[in-house]
């Protein structure tokens, strides 16, 4: 009988807790979920307060990863409102399968492919050809099957006839940020990232040279067709192309589309 008072307070507390958890879940459902390419991480986090101030009651929720896995999540039915990928190809796939609102798709930034080396490195390649030398044992490249920056890198290496020489040295990265991290830690001798990523770690990596890509690197964004918050999602995509957001993106080194 002694434990009865404890029980009688525990149960209501548990109920209250469950209710609170349920309520917070309900609140999250009204949030805008944006799946964005890993290279957009810092810029988008910076953009969030701007958008939230302009759209009271909306809270942005970001899901950053390489564009490939983001597409797979959407294909498998993840409750995403906006998709921003680092290449046209991934967005084209999403569009071809009817997952995005094609009419509202917008290119909002451009970027540059660069080759970086650890800041302390004495060996700095002057061009793609140098990477084929034995001095460069390991080169970080995003996995071409799922990471756009890896496809861009593979594209330029193939065009230069160097892919066969570089591929055995390739350390595959799950996203551009992992490739950046491998170089910053000095675990690889060089890596392919975007200039915007290299700028974030200017103290640990240095840009050896930038690489003109076959196709320009253009980032598209589009609302998800089945997204729970269609109208707000569309507003977010428009917001990305408007001057205030463009100013923030430019601060991080992204170019105009």
């Amino acid at each position: 009988m002694d434990d009865l008072p404890i029980r009688s307070t525990t149960l209501p507390r548990l109920l209250a807790f469950a209710l609170a958890a349920g309520l917070s879940l309900a609140a999250q459902a009204a949030d805008l979920t944006v799946s964005a390419a890993a290279s957009l991480t810092n810029a988008f986090k910076d953009l969030a307060p701007l958008f939230e101030a302009a759209n009271p009651g909306t809270k942005l929720q970001f899901n950053f990863a390489a564009s490939g896995p983001l597409l797979q999540q959407i294909v498998k039915g993840a409750p995403v409102d906006v998709f921003a990928s680092a290449d046209q190809e991934t967005m084209d796939q999403a569009q071809a399968q009817g997952f995005v609102q094609a009419a509202q798709r917008r290119n909002f930034v451009s970027n540059t492919l660069v080759v970086i080396v650890p800041a302390a490195s004495a060996r700095v390649p002057a061009g793609l050809k140098d990477l084929a030398q034995p001095a460069f044992e390991r080169v970080a490249i995003g996995l071409p099957a799922s990471v756009p920056v890896g496809r861009y890198a593979q594209g330029v290496l193939e065009a230069a006839g160097l892919w066969a020489a570089i591929e055995p040295k390739m350390i595959g990265a799950q996203s551009v940020r992992q490739a950046l991290d491998y170089v910053a830690r000095g675990e690889v001798d060089a890596g392919f990232v975007y200039s915007t990523d290299a700028a974030l770690m200017a103290d640990k990596v240095k840009v050896a040279f930038s690489v003109p890509t076959v196709k320009p690197i253009l980032y598209p964004a589009a609302p998800i067709a089945a997204g729970p918050n269609g109208a707000v999602a569309q507003r977010f995509v428009e917001f990305l192309t408007a001057p205030p957001a463009q100013a923030v993106l430019a601060k991080y080194g992204f170019g105009k589309p």
């Binding site: 896995p69 797979q72 996995l143 099957a145 350390i171 990265a173 799950q174 830690r185 675990e187 690889v188």
Partner: protein, 224 residues
Amino acid sequence: MEGAWVALALTLKVAGWATALNLIFGVGVGYAMARWRFPGRELADAVLTLPMVMPPTVLGYYMLVLIGTHGPIGAWLLQHFGIRLIFTWQAAVIAAAVVSFPLVFKSARAAFETVDPQLEDAARLLGIGEVGVFFRVSLPLAGRGVLAGLLLAFARALGEFGATLMVAGSIPGKTQTLSIAVYEAVQAGQDDTANFLVAVTSVTCIAVLLSAGRLAPGRVAPRA
């Protein structure tokens, strides 16, 4: 599909080496902890059990910091032997061994503690040296528990993912184990490859469990 067999062979190699390392270190430390009394023994036990409790990403980060090119161990290895561990299959072995170590160590310690010290003393009285006592008395008597621990550790090493990905990366044929190959196929939307890899993994796990059942406690060493 051929990649799946390469990944399977690599996975078995990594798990095998990790289990071999644990046969030496896990069993050795387990025996020491069971027989050796010193202040802070339980604290040491807790620390040695940590890899079982800590998230693999935390372990992976610790290992990356220690054996990375600029880490204390990694820098030393590079300077003196020109060895770079990160992104090699040996790094995957280290990750798998660390993660599965507590399973061997815990089982071994418990098994050795059930061995009656009087039997060891009797062997010593009969003039057998310490090494002989260990291999001829303690280890056979603790064998069932030790083997059970090793099998569990092998199974755990087969499925290691988080720490392995952090220190060994994902290089097909070199460090891309089955679990990492599955992850990558799913990330890239290659469902056919993923299905095949998952089937191979499932069959492998069932085979390991079945053979574990055959070797399992009760059939290995008949109780004396």
